[in-house]
Symmetry: C2
DNA sequence: TCACTAAGGTTTACTTAGTTG
DNA sequence: CAACTAAGTAAACCTTAGTGA
């Protein structure tokens, strides 16, 4: 069949498979009714329909990824977002500080 | 009036004002019909309606921000995303490399 | 069990037409 | 000109029911 057409679908599948969950199970964990979880999650992953932000937020939580990860089209930036989400608070602050510094000396 | 209720609305307003554009002008630049641009952009910014990813992608371009910026709920991460988007390619790669390294020595 | 889909009912977004500052 | 909104139309999503690997 066809490959993924949407960014959300691509990111969703990557993170879901990484978490070792089925489409239906993930949907149920995110609070979707058990009778429609399979269809809805599949529609999201295949790019047939776009999830609203509320359900996306709950899906993101269950997959341990920042919500922005699922919307980013740039693979490198998506990777950066993913890594940031996995860092402890101290390293998050450090990374942000480094980014600010890199940005600063770019303008000079 | 009332404050913003949605994340998208909050990020949208910040970036739009920073760019010095009116709601209507931004909508037109993003390709929305001139007769509905004002209403639609206002509905997005006030959180009345949620924009689809396609139009959001075009809005993000005009505001010079990665699309993920508009969906991120964490202010620090949103800031990191914003900075990343403004870096040149060399610094983008450097920042990503640093992130990977920070992540690596966290697990040890 | 898991991935996936068509079709129709339901919900939401989009357009129109306007008000207010 | 800029921000904003109600109401109706149009479009998208969600549910149901089901197929096939």
């Amino acid at each position: 069949m066809t490959s993924n057409i949407s960014i959300i679908g691509k990111r969703l599948k990557e993170a879901r498979v990484h978490a070792g969950l089925s489409q239906e199970r993930l949907g149920i964990l995110a609070g979707i009714d058990e009778f429609s979880a399979s269809a809805r999650m599949n529609q999201y992953e295949r790019g047939k329909h776009e999830p609203g932000m509320e359900i996306m937020k709950r899906i993101a939580e269950k997959l341990h990824r920042p919500i922005s990860y699922f919307y980013e089209v740039d693979d490198d930036l998506a990777h950066l977002i993913e890594i940031y989400g996995g860092l402890d608070q101290q390293r998050k602050e450090k990374l942000l500080a480094i980014a600010v510094e890199l940005h600063g000396n770019q303008s000079e």
